[in-house]
Amino acid sequence: MRELSLHLLDIAENSVAAGASWIQIVVDESIVQDRLYISVRDNGKGMDAETIQKVLDPFYTSRTTRKVGLGLPLLKAAAESCNGYLTIQSTPGIGTCVEIEFQHSHIDRMPLGDLASTLLTLVISAPQIHWECQYQVDSQTFLFDNQPIMQELEGIPLTDPAVLSFLRQLIEEGIQNIQPLPSGISK
């Protein structure tokens, strides 16, 4: 996976699989401090300390269909090679928080990629979950919370073409409005 947004999708899918009813995603690009921070926080079933150790082991997965899972260990290695880190805090029965940070300008840092597609995919395909998403670039913030939308829709599916169009534009425009341009190009 050569895109941080794909890793983000993967981590959030872990939260979905952990039975979370609430998932908070934060993506914070601080150009000023030269950091790129991503976190996924959930109220899923959580993990004990031993399991946390194991999920960072490339030869562990909680899945029973296959013996290896490589999502988190590879991302941790990628973060550490860019003056960053990946940490997991978790309490059984309470939830899990995965935090990742990179040096924003590091030559080896993966691009953030298509954040809008990742958020849209999550919100559409797991509508039972309360999603709180925050995308921040220095002092500018885009917040997305699906709960007011779900309440307003009262059971109309998110895949209704008009609803889908509304959601896609809301998320895409919200992100585009604050997304920094590639380095070297000024606004």
């Binding site: 995919t121 559409i124 797991a126 307003e152 209704d160 073409p161 534009q169």
Partner: protein
């Protein structure tokens, strides 16, 4: 400056959707499930999902529910998309590129023709 979407817009969309729903309640709903395990995501599940959502939006196709599932144990055939139209049996597709994803919606869901070349026998 792009338009800011508000809940007022959503209210109007909801009213329209409710009216359309009453008209087409007879035709069965279609379910599309995209496998979103690590294997699926790495193989391009998000792009398949995006292609499906994009077609629903641009062609204005109602009555399709799109959800996700985890790894189903066929990692080498990801991205995997499962389709069920009404009461018909579920069909599993493998190696679903964005182009095949669009064909699944157009040919299978809308026209009722299964794309045999890409079916995984279950």
């Amino acid at each position: 400056m792009p338009t800011v979407k508000s809940l007022e817009d959503l209210k109007r969309i909801r009213e329209e959707a409710l009216q359309k729903r009453q008209v087409k309640a007879a035709s069965g709903e279609a379910n599309i499930v995209v496998a979103m395990g690590t294997c699926g995501i790495a193989a391009g599940a998000r792009e398949a999902m995006k292609a499906i959502l994009n077609l629903i939006e641009t062609e204005n196709i109602p009555g399709i529910i799109v959800t996700q599932t985890g790894c189903i144990g066929l990692c080498e055939r990801e991205p995997i998309v499962q389709v069920q139209v009404g009461e018909q049996p579920k069909v599993t597709y493998g190696k679903v590129t964005p182009e095949i994803a669009r064909r699944i919606v157009k040919e299978h869901v809308v026209e009722g023709k299964i794309i045999e070349d890409h079916v995984i026998p279950m």
